[in-house]
Every structure is written in C-alpha cells, then in structure tokens.
C-alpha cells in the first residue's frame, strides 16, 4: 500500500491508498449498484426458469429496436470515454464535443425506449399483463432511470465545461464515465435477457 501523504491547503488532499478519493467513492457506489441489478436480474432469471411460458410474451418485444438501442448505448460509451481521453490531454473543445454527443445519445436511447414502451402498452402489454411484463417494466424502467441520471450528470458536466467551470476538475469526466459505462454494462445483459432469449420456444 502506497504511503504517500499529500497535505495540501484547502480541503483534505491526502490519498493514503493511492486511489483518488472521488474515484473510490464512485466505485463504492457502483459496488452497491452491481448487487442491486444482480439481485433484480437473479430474481427475473429464477422466476422465468420457474414459471415457463414467458417466451411467448418476450416474443412481442421488438428485436430491431432493441438492437438499435443497444448500438446507441454502446456508441455513447465510446463517446464518453473519448471525452475522458480528450479531458486528460487538456483538449477542452474535444471534451465538450464528446460530452455533448454522449448526452444526445443517452437522450436518443431514452426516446427510443419510451417509444417502445408506448407501443407495448398500446398493444395491451401493461405491467399487469403478466409476470414477464412486470419484470420487463421494472428492469428497463430502473435502467432507464439510471440512464436519465447519467444524462443529467453529463449535461451538468457539459454545461460547466461550456462555462469554463470544469477547468482543473477534468477528473469529474472520468468519474461520470465510470457510472455511464456501468449503466451500459447493465444494458448489455438486459438486452439478451429480455429481447433475445425467447427463440424457438425457449423458457
């Protein structure tokens, strides 16, 4: 364990573990989020294996829209990490551009998801229409709330970068990025779990 003690003026700047304090805070938060989604996904998988007949309901989801949305979110992860790379190089303009793109892609994901929900509810598949749908709305809804949170955080970062307030605090882009990539990873699992596992009369 590195025993470096940087005693700076102002707020404590000691970093006894060598891991920046902000990054460690974000990772502890993500650790609890991993268990949250892990528990929810586990409940879904086990209930689905235990019940049967959910595939017919899952078959009503739109695979093309889901695939496209996955593509959007994967791409937003790329733009986020490019914003971080630009921030690290001190490229303020690049950082702003990539942040803005990330925000727009996040919004696009939410709009497409909202459109999907709308058409599903229009077809009568409400949360009350069966256990699959209850789980579907809970899982995608909770995930969408996380996306919304990420969009808000990234928008704040973008706006403060625009006003020049982010200078010297560029590491915040990395912290927001960690959260954003985590939300992306959750979707990486939700997509096959909800959209793809229905094939050929599976469980």
């Amino acid at each position: 364990m590195a025993q470096t003690h940087v005693v700076a003026t102002g707020v404590e700047a000691r970093v006894a573990s060598g891991i920046p304090t902000g990054k460690m805070g974000v990772w502890w938060f993500l650790a609890s989020e991993i268990v949250l989604f892990g528990g929810l996904i586990g409940s879904f998988v086990m209930s689905r294996v235990g019940s049967g007949g959910w595939s017919e309901m899952a078959a009503h989801l739109s695979v093309p829209l889901g695939t496209f949305n996955t593509f959007v979110l994967l791409t937003s992860s790329l733009t986020m990490v490019l914003a971080f790379a630009a921030a690290e190089k001190g490229d303020q303009k690049g950082m702003r551009t990539w942040l803005l793109l990330t925000v727009l892609l996040g919004l696009a994901f939410l709009i497409i998801k909202g459109f999907e929900w709308g058409s599903e509810i229009g077809a009568g598949f409400t949360p009350m229409a069966g256990s699959f749908w209850s789980f579907y709305y809970t899982m995608t809804g909770l995930h969408a709330l996380h996306v919304l949170g990420g969009v808000v955080v990234n928008s704040i970062l973008f706006l403060s970068a625009l006003m020049g307030l982010l200078r010297g605090r560029e590491h915040r882009v990395e912290l927001a990025g960690l959260y954003w990539h985590f939300v992306d990873i959750v979707w990486i699992f939700l997509f096959p779990l909800l959209y793809l596992s229905w094939t050929k009369g599976g469980i």
Binding site: M1, Q3, H5, V7, T9, G10, V11, E12, R14, V15, A16, S17, I19, T21, M24, G25, W28, F29, A31, S32, E33, I34, V35, L36, F37, G38, G39, L40, G42, S43, M46, S47, G50, S51, P127, M128, G130, S131, S134, F135, Y137, T138, L142
Partner: protein, 563 residues
C-alpha cells in the same frame, strides 16, 4: 489549512446548525433523529406490551388498542428501532463523529454528500411520521413486510401507510448508502501520516465492515421493495401466487439484506465496547489483529446465513442444512471476539465509571443473545421455537445490547468530546443498574413464554387455552417494560442537565490513547490544531517505557523496544 478553519468558523447560524457540512454537527443531527425515534419506539413498545398483558383494555394515557392497531404497533416498533434508531445512532452518530477524528482527518471525504445523507434521512423520517396519520394508519404487515399480506392493500386494510413505509425505507437506504461511501473512503484515504490500516482503532474497522455489509446487501432489497410497491400500486404480481408470483422471493430478498443488517447494527456496537474496555482496564486490547480478522470473517459469513430466518417458510428443505452450518459457523468469529474482550479485562486494573458499566452490560447481555442464537440457528430446534417469543427474546438480547447498552456506553464515553462537558456519574450509574435489571426482567420471561409456545404477532394471548397459564409472565414483562421506560428518565435528565451545566471536560478526561482525545473538547470545525502524526497503535496502555498508564497515538516519544 489553518486559513480554511478560520473561514469555516465564521459561517452563519444556519450553516452551522442546520445545513452543516461538519461531520460532528451531522453526527449530532443523526443523534437527535435517533433519540427522537427512540422515544416513539419506546412508546409503541409500552402500548403493545399493554395489549399483551391486558388484552383489549384501555391503555392508560392512550385508550383502546385492539388487534388491528396492535399489528401496526409491532410493525412500526420493529421498523423504527432497527432503521430509525439503531442505524442513525450507531452508524450515523458514532460513525460520523468518530471516524474522521479517529483516523486523524479534518472531515469526511465527501462532506456535502454527508450533509445530503442526513437530510435524506430527515426526509425519510418525515415520510414515516406522515404514514402514521394517513387514512388507514401506518404499515401493519410486520417489520419484515412479508407478502402476500403486504402485497395487496385489502389484506391489511392499510393502503398509503404501507406505501409510505416502503418509500421511507427506500429513502433511509439511500441515506445510508451515501454514508457508507464516506465511511469507507475516509478511513482508506484520509488517514493521518503514520496511521496505517493496522493502527486504526477497532471501532473504525467495525464501522467499515458494517458499511461494506450494508452497501453490498441492500441492493436486492431495494429492487425487491420496488417490486413490492408495484404489486401494491400497479397491479403487478411479483409476490402474489395467483398472478404467477412467489412470496418466497421477497423473503429471500429481504433476509439477504436483513441478516447482514443485524451485523451492520451489531458490529459498531461491538466496536464501542472494544474501545472502552482497554481504556478502563488500562491494558492493551487482547488480540488486535485476530479481532480484525474475525470481523472480516464474520462479514463474509454474514452473506451466507440469511435463510435461517426461513426454515419453516416452505423453502427447499435441502437449504436448511447448509444454512444451519453457516449460522453455527458465524458464531466462531464472534466467540473469538468475546474471548478477546474477556482476555482484555483479565488482570487489568479495572475501574467502573458509567461507560465501562454499560460496556460490561453489553458483553453480558450479548452473551445470552449469542448463545440463544445457536438454538435458533439449528433447523431442528428452530422448527419448534420459530416465530415464538423465544426468538423475540433472542433478538432483543442481541440488538438491545448493541443499540442501547453499547449506544449508552458510547454516549457516556464520548459525551465530553461531543459536547465539551462531563455527564453526571451518580445519575449514570443509577441509569445503568435500573436499565440492566429491568431489561432482564422484561426479556427473561419471554424466553419462558416462547418455550411455552407463545407465538409472535398475536394480539391477544388469552384467546389460546394453552397460553392462559402463562399470562402472569406477560403481565410481569409488561410491568417491567413500563419501569424500564421510566428508568430512562435519569438519562434524559442527565443528558440535558450535563449539556448545559455539566463539569467542563478537558481534552482527555478518560486518559485514552486514540486520536479524538488529542483534539479539543468539543473539536472545532477542522478537528485538530495541526494534523496529528501517528507513531503507534491505539491501545498502548501501561506501556513500560512511560510513567503514565496511557500513551496517545500521536505522542512522539519513542518507546524503547525492551522493557
């Protein structure tokens, strides 16, 4: 750095007492919230005990209780005591106050997050308070909220009360998730120069373990609570068998969190006791590292024991054996810690001021709680005593010891540091002896009632032929409960009297070693005059190289290697 301290000291009243980012003020806010709810929880205990001793009669000072209201009383008593008294006091107050001081930091790693967490808890408290006054009353599906009872409003007759209960718990969880981030990041990153992980006071280790347990177990229950809320308000059927759901799922999600939660409460209580024992026996702690390793082992094991709450729930019987084994296994690290405590006392020159009495009381009471836990943990025995008053007595012996005995020990011990004045010893000792005797008078009868077969969550034991001969025990426990509640009056008087008129405390009134005693009493915003440098572990009492019996962690004299 000193410039910052001066600036912060001139902040407005509002920023000092209300929206403060000072961890010590936040700790006092947690303490205030916890003590407020302790009064409410105590009054609920009085009413529910009245109903059990004198079923369906008018409770003095309240009125008629009856079965529906009784269900609300037990539900809210459990919820309040676990989530709104134990966690705010043991983690919120002591964790926030002591972690930065003990590691030698000027504040928590994220002071604004800390403020947000206490205000989230305040909001959560407000929601819970409102739930008492909505039509239908507060939640009444048990503090565990088992579906299907909790999953449809018509089953309990409580609609918004239970929805608000879920909301209040969700906010409470969010609050302690934020605290947890601070509790972990601060000791890992903001330790003073020379303060290695193995020079940290044990309380800090316990708080860190508790924070990890909480953060890594609460997620599934948050998901589960969302699902329960959707069952109630959106007509989903996650837990309702008629809609294809499974009530057992909730039990797993609840206890997957619920059992680690027991240690979330218990470990900080244990940490308080471990801080107090060496100070008043003037001896180093026995087995510092083994205690840390036991804590970690108990933390890991605590994720593998939860289904012992469900032995008779209809879960897969093949799960009973493995969960019995892990449950009995987890008593090993705790037994080791208890032996380390006894060995710390052994041969010490022990003095008995009030904090030490309460710490010893914690140990005595927890021993009974821990030993009766072995009965509950073995599936065959549990099938007989499950959901009886034996279980009620057992978990009060564990949780009451951690929350009240250890909590009072900590309050009497750190009161001088928190408020700059000493508490009254005579009133403190009176408070201890009354509490200790009356606590046992309340709960020993419950072991007997449980062994006699009295079930939990029944509003009227007189309805059952076989319980009628046991009714004197119920009456005895109720009278003892009322006296136990009255026995807290010396504490209330002592607390407020000492706050304003107690003897002014010096920096280190107990002659203790840990860093918080190097700061002024009470410490200013920023805590230390200069950031301390740490030279040794926290429990170097009666060191042969110095003439005093104590040797603070930041005193630069180098002890000679040989005695």
């Amino acid at each position: 750095m000193s410039a910052r301290v001066e600036v912060e000291e001139r902040v407005s009243f509002f920023r000092t007492y209300v929206f403060s980012i000072d961890h010590k003020m936040i700790a006092k806010q947690y303490l205030a919230i916890g003590l407020f709810w302790a009064v409410v929880g105590g009054l609920l205990a009085y009413l529910l005990r009245w109903q059990l001793a004198y079923p369906d009669t008018e409770a003095p000072g309240w009125g008629f209780i009856g079965p529906e209201f009784y269900n609300m009383l037990v539900t809210m008593h459990g919820t309040i005591m676990v989530f709104f008294v134990a966690m705010p006091i043991l983690l919120g107050a002591f964790g926030n106050f002591l972690i930065p001081l003990m590691v030698g930091a000027r504040d928590m790693a994220f002071p604004r997050l800390n403020m947000l967490s206490v205000w989230t808890l305040a909001l959560s408290s407000l929601v819970l308070l409102i739930s008492f006054f909505v039509p239908g009353g507060a939640a009444s599906a048990g503090w565990t909220g088992y579906p299907p009872l909790s999953a449809k409003p018509i089953y309990t007759g409580v609609n918004w009360g239970l929805n608000l209960w879920i909301l209040a718990l969700a906010l409470e969880f969010a609050s302690f998730l934020m605290s947890g981030i601070n509790f972990l990041t601060t000791p890992i990153n903001l330790r003073a120069p020379g303060m290695s992980m193995f020079r940290l006071p044990l309380l800090v280790w316990m708080q860190m373990t508790a924070a990890i347990l909480f953060m890594l177990s609460v997620g599934p229950l948050i998901a589960g609570a969302i699902m329960l809320l959707l069952d109630r308000v959106a007509g989903a059927s996650f837990y309702l068998p008629q809609g294809g759901g499974d009530p057992l799922l909730w039990q797993h999600l609840f206890w997957f969190f619920g059992h680690p939660e027991v240690y979330v409460i218990f470990l900080p209580g244990l940490g308080i006791v471990l801080e107090i024992f060496p100070v008043f026996s003037r001896k180093p702690i026995f087995g510092y590292r083994p205690i840390i390793y036991s804590t970690i082992a108990a933390g890991i094991l605590s994720f593998t024991v939860w289904a012992h709450h469900q032995f008779i729930s209809g879960m897969d019987p093949r799960l009973a054996m493995p969960f019995s084994v892990t449950t009995i296994l987890i008593s090993v690290p705790f037994a080791l810690m208890v032996f380390a405590m006894i060995a710390t006392l052994w041969g010490g020159s022990i003095s008995f001021p009030t904090p030490m009495l309460f710490a010893l009381g914690t140990l005595a009471v927890f021993l009974i709680g821990g030993l009766t836990g072995i009965f509950n943990g073995s599936a065959p025995v549990d099938i007989y005593i499950h959901s009886t008053y034996f279980v009620v007595a057992h978990f009060h012996y564990t949780l009451f010891s951690a929350l009240f005995f250890a909590g009072f020990a900590g309050l009497y011990f750190w009161f001088p540091k928190m408020f700059g004045r000493m508490m009254n010893e005579a009133l403190g000792k009176l408070h201890f002896w009354l509490t200790f005797l009356l606590f046992n008078a309340v709960f020993i009868p419950m072991f007997l009632l449980g062994a006699g077969g009295m079930m939990r969550r029944i509003a009227n034991p007189m309805q059952y032929e076989f319980l009628r001969p046991l009714q004197p025990l119920n009456t005895f426990a109720t009278i003892a409960t009322i006296l136990l509640l009255l026995a807290q009056l010396p504490f209330v008087v002592n607390f407020f009297w000492s706050l304003f008129a107690g003897k002014v405390a010096e920096r280190n009134p107990w002659q203790a070693n840990t860093l918080e005693w190097s700061a002024p009493s009470p410490p200013p915003h920023g805590n230390f005059d200069t950031v301390p440098v740490v030279y040794r572990g926290p429990y170097e009492y009666s060191h042969p190289s110095v003439s005093e019996e104590w040797l603070p962690q930041d005193r630069p004299t180098m002890p000679t290697a040989t005695a």
